[in-house]
């Protein structure tokens, strides 16, 4: 059959697309769900980590001798030891320097205080909000420090080799240096690239600049685009650096049951890729172990949001601590301050935008000068202009290197920041035209990719009705005359979300029980539930009849949970596995039913001949015909027939009140209209969108990583001053999922990222609509609101 794997039609679905409660809910609400942090094997040692108090400093010496003799201490490992033996330069405060394992956590912390480090403190730079001024970096010629930094920060090999090839090195590469690199197991292609890199001794004296131009592109003719316009607007927009703040900090428990095998529990978004990553990290420490001899387990993860793909330094030094302690299990969970400083950052993006339109609201030109930081490595340009590919663009972006914790992917990387800039500029321009932004967006819908034009138009309509947007919308600044002002704003977004590579073992036992093994993970998105829904619908049996095993690297590999790729991957591999297993069962039972396998149907706990339900076997009776050996097949994605797809839209609207005396913003209501192809579980899908709105309110109003320019350290590395939204901050929320005809047949598409993109932009636009002036940067804190109001007043007086 050509379409045997295709998703079942709506009338054949018992579970798919329905509201199913998450299967692990009962475990989570009763404290029985176990996380990496909860794994307490016998003889567990507790680790503690000495971190750099300086944002930039060279480590002259480390003396751990006193710490090693402290009560309870079992092992000490110097994390910052460079491959060439040169002193290491720390690039951000809080970076791991020395790790200690002891019998109790307090003993481990006591031992840290006995470690003596001699530092050479270097000048640092942590400012990113101010528009770059000063010289730009030339092509980055690598110093020895840069190279060591790139190696220890796991810069992708291809990128490093390319950089060495193109820009060269500023130091003399001698035989001793090559020998040292070899000793530290640096991959041969990198060693070759270092040897062949052009030598630029003059670069040693180059002035260092934190600014680097990473994008400078022109499309069409911006100058004439601006000339032909009737209305031009210029504005400043941006989002500061925020952090992931996973409730479960990053962390690891590692143990060596014997010298050749390593068992690792790690809080991760990518179980299947961990053994390889950890083996690679250990190799650089001079410990050779095959990835095949590393087993990684994780039953539950307390949040990731993009920050838990790497094995990280702790994924290597915790196994090292364990090895040095004779293989005893060692646990290191990051302290909250470290979690906020080093284990999570969403890059900042700011831009001065000039945008123009004709009188009737057609955009004619766009010019953006952007900048932002992703930490010591600078950062990439965001996708500007966002969603609307308007004619006549100029886009320039300067990446700013700062001595701050390196960025990690944060739920819909780059998109929320790009939306704040683009949707803000569009809304400001619409305001200048005195036009309802819904109408303005519609007028310019031709600049949206054709594939999603109609989706956006439909979603705009639905959102408009849910919010009563157009009927309640008022021109800017007419949100009331008293202290409290009310406003409405909107934003639209997009994401890919095609399913990743995924494999599972799918087994039907002769007693009728079923088990699925897959090396995936459930981040709280409902992955387990989705797999069981698909399997149960395919076999026509209840979900509770199926055993699901995930979170173990010894199971068939499945992709990391990022970029909204999991649902498409796991549902597709499960579907293919379930169909093949079911068909194998059909082949076994067809003779008993006096039929052929292609005529059989599995539904309602029975296998029967299509069109004649009197010819039926119960599921158990059917499975008894399997024989002594169970049926086991592999389900894969990708595979035959396309079960997953890419490319969604999404519209969100916000209703806010702003207190113009205090500057406090209150979000009254948010509306989200979202498509994601075929929805597997409507209940958990809506929860994803609701969660994204909450996260959006949080980053729109509260979240900001604040660095002290003079000391270069994060000032709010705790949950009191790094404020997340709480119950009292949450608006009325309405979610509408686009389902049914036109959507279901697209196949399964990921959902986690897209609804996270628009809340900040929609709220920012609603605030502008309420108070009549743009608050340039997120988070929209009271001080920023008052500052914007004040500058508006000054402007009006002048």
């Amino acid at each position: 059959m050509a379409d045997k794997y295709a998703w079942p039609a709506e009338n054949e679905r018992a579970y798919i697309g329905k509201r199913i409660s998450r299967v692990d809910g009962p475990f989570k609400v009763s404290g029985r769900a176990k996380y990496t942090y909860d794994y307490n094997p016998k003889g567990l040692l507790y680790g503690a980590v000495l971190r750099s108090p300086y944002p930039k400093a060279r480590i002259v010496s480390i003396d751990t001798s006193a710490a090693e003799k402290m009560p309870g201490v079992k092992s000490v490992h110097i994390v910052q030891k460079d491959p060439t033996g040169k002193p290491v330069t720390i690039q951000f405060a809080g970076d791991d320097v020395v790790a200690v394992a002891a019998q109790t956590e307090d003993q481990a912390e006591d031992a840290l205080r006995a470690i003596k480090i001699q530092w050479e403190v270097l000048p640092h730079f942590v400012q990113d909000e101010k528009e770059p001024s000063g010289p730009l970096q030339g092509p980055t010629v690598m110093s020895q420090d840069d190279l060591v930094g790139a190696l220890s920060n796991q810069m992708p090999q291809g990128q490093l080799i390319q950089q060495l090839k193109t820009n060269g090195v500023s130091f003399k590469v001698d035989d001793e240096f090559i020998k040292q690199m070899k000793q530290f197991n640096i991959p041969q292609p990198i060693i070759d690239a270092v040897q062949q890199a052009p030598y630029h001794p003059e670069a040693q004296n180059q002035p260092q600049s934190p600014y680097k131009e990473v994008r400078n592109e022109t499309k069409g003719d911006p100058d004439s685009g601006f000339k032909s316009a009737d209305v031009t607007h210029e504005g400043l927009y941006g989002s500061t650096v925020i952090t992931h703040c996973c409730m479960e900090a990053h962390g690891v428990v590692a143990e060596w049951p014997d010298p050749d095998h390593l068992l690792v529990h790690i809080s991760t978004q990518s179980v299947s890729s961990m053994p390889g990553q950890i083996a690679g990290g250990l190799k650089a420490q001079g410990v050779n172990i095959d990835a095949a001899n590393i087993r990684v387990e994780q039953q539950n993860v307390g949040g990731g949001f993009g920050s838990k793909f790497s094995a990280d330094r702790w994924g290597v030094y915790v196994p090292m601590l364990s090895k040095k302690a004779g293989g005893a299990p060692v646990k290191v969970m990051l302290e909250r301050d470290a979690e906020l400083e080093v284990a999570g950052a969403r890059p900042s993006h700011y831009a001065r935008v000039k945008i123009a339109a004709t009188r009737d609201g057609k955009i004619t030109a766009w010019d953006a000068n952007g900048w932002g930081t992703g930490g010591p490595g600078g950062g990439a340009a965001p996708p500007l202009p966002y969603v609307f590919d308007v004619p006549n663009q100029r886009n320039r972006y300067i990446s700013v290197s700062t001595n701050t914790g390196p960025s990690r992917a944060w739920r819909a990387p780059q998109h929320p920041q790009a939306a704040v800039i683009t949707m803000g500029a569009l809304e400001d321009l619409a305001a200048k035209l005195n036009m309802n932004p819904v109408e303005f967006f519609r007028k310019n819908i031709e600049y949206v990719t054709e594939a999603r034009r109609q989706i956006y138009l439909d979603e705009l309509d639905i959102a408009d009705k849910m919010m009563n947007f157009s009927s309640r919308w008022h021109p800017r600044g007419q949100g009331g005359s008293g202290m409290m002002r009310q406003g409405l704003g909107l934003s639209i977004h997009t994401w890919g979300g095609r399913g990743h590579n995924s494999n599972c073992d799918f087994t039907i036992h002769p007693d009728g029980s079923v088990d699925i093994k897959m090396g995936t993970q459930d981040l709280g998105t409902g992955t387990r539930t989705a797999i069981l829904i698909v399997a149960a619908d395919t076999l026509g049996i209840p979900m509770e009849q199926i055993n699901l095993h995930i979170g173990d690297s010894s199971y068939p590999t499945s992709g990391g949970s990022g970029g909204s790729t999991t649902i498409g991957g796991v549902s597709s591999s499960t579907r293919r596995g379930a169909v093949d297993a079911r068909d194998a069962l059909f082949a076994k039972v067809a003779p008993a039913l006096g039929s052929t396998p292609d005529k059989l149907v599995a539904r309602n706990g029975k296998i029967f001949v299509e069109g004649d339900e009197s010819k039926a076997l119960t599921w158990k009776q059917a499975c008894a015909k399997i024989g002594p050996m169970p049926i086991t097949v592999q389900g894969k994605n990708p595979g035959p027939e396309n079960l997953t797809n890419s490319g969604v839209g999404g519209v969100q609207m916000a209703d806010v009140s702003v207190d113009t005396e205090t500057g406090i913003v209150k979000v009254n209501k948010m509306v989200a209209v979202q498509d994601c192809g075929l929805v597997i579980d409507l209940k958990t899908a809506e929860s994803q969108v609701l969660g994204a709105l909450v996260m959006g309110v949080s980053y729109a109003l509260f979240e900001e990583k604040i660095y002290d320019p003079s000391t270069g350290v994060m000032l709010n590395d705790n949950m009191e001053f790094y404020r997340l939204a709480g119950l009292g901050d949450i608006p009325e929320m309405q979610v509408h999922m686009m389902t049914g005809k036109g959507y279901d047949e697209r196949g399964v598409i990921g959902l986690a990222e897209p609804p996270t993109v628009s809340p900040g932009a929609a709220i920012s636009n609603a605030v502008a609509n309420a108070i009549g002036v743009r608050v340039p940067y997120l988070p929209i804190t009271p001080d920023r609101v008052l500052q914007a109001l004040e500058s508006e007043e000054k402007g009006a007086r002048a």
């Binding site: 409660s21 475990f27 989570k28 609400v29 409730m247 709280g524 209940k683 009292g728």
Partner: protein
């Protein structure tokens, strides 16, 4: 155990009678410096009264956790949270902020929701400690609040959920007809990162409406394979 000092018990905030209370400390005054390093709780005579001295080393204490009397050896500086998790393997309460800001470590002490990260284990002696594990209606039966959390999908990654369910249990017991303001005040000390507040709000609203949620058929799915 040392004889309780009734006079000390009358001082608010010093009811525990364990450790060395401020009052006892004042009584022994300069003597404190002369107290030798001990390995267990030491009882010294001060003004004819017996005073218990703990630390700095580990000493045996007894905690009543989820109806079970448990004896463990901890240093006086150990928090109740760490004692529960590390010594008793009661891992429902989580350490997230470790300074009384996020509520993930919430437990009930004598029925009151408290942050176990900000309570010393030695101070929790002689009190009823109930954690999320102790809130089940039966060995495998969820409590109505737990059921409602499942039905309203008020947990995603689940790491804040233990604390939230515990705090909600105490809150709804004390506020059978909660208002929005009461909810915000009483559950405002718990944070969630996945954004499950919508579901949590529904849990409270459903309770306020007197419509205690029946377990949805699919919500009661027994999950095999263990989590």
């Amino acid at each position: 155990m040392a004889k309780r000092d009734d006079e000390i018990k009358q001082i608010p905030g010093e009811e525990s009678g364990n450790g060395l209370s401020r009052r006892s400390f004042l009584k022994i005054g300069g003597l404190a410096a002369a107290v030798p390093v001990v390995t267990g709780p030491k009882i010294i005579q001060v003004g004819g009264e017996q005073v218990e001295v703990h630390g700095p080393h580990a000493a045996p204490i007894t905690l009543m956790v989820n109806g079970k009397r448990q004896t463990l050896n901890v240093e006086p500086r150990v928090t109740l949270l760490d004692a529960l998790r590390e010594d008793l393997d009661v891992t429902g309460p989580k350490r997230v902020c470790d300074r009384g800001e996020c509520g993930a470590c919430t437990v009930l002490i004598d029925g009151k929701a408290v942050y176990s990260c900000s309570t010393l284990a030695i101070d929790a002696q002689g009190k009823e400690i109930v954690t999320i594990e102790g809130l089940m209606a039966g060995a495998t039966q969820l409590s109505p609040v737990q059921e409602a959390y499942v039905q309203h999908d008020a947990s995603q990654c689940g790491f804040c959920t233990s604390g939230f369910v515990t705090a909600t249990t105490a809150f709804l017991r004390d506020h059978p007809n909660p208002t929005h303001e009461e909810m915000v005040r009483n559950l405002g000390g718990n944070f969630c990162r996945c954004g499950t507040y919508g579901g949590i709000r529904e849990v409270v609203q459903a309770h306020a409406g007197g419509k205690r949620a029946a377990t949805e058929a699919a919500g009661a799915v027994a999950v095999k394979g263990g989590f």
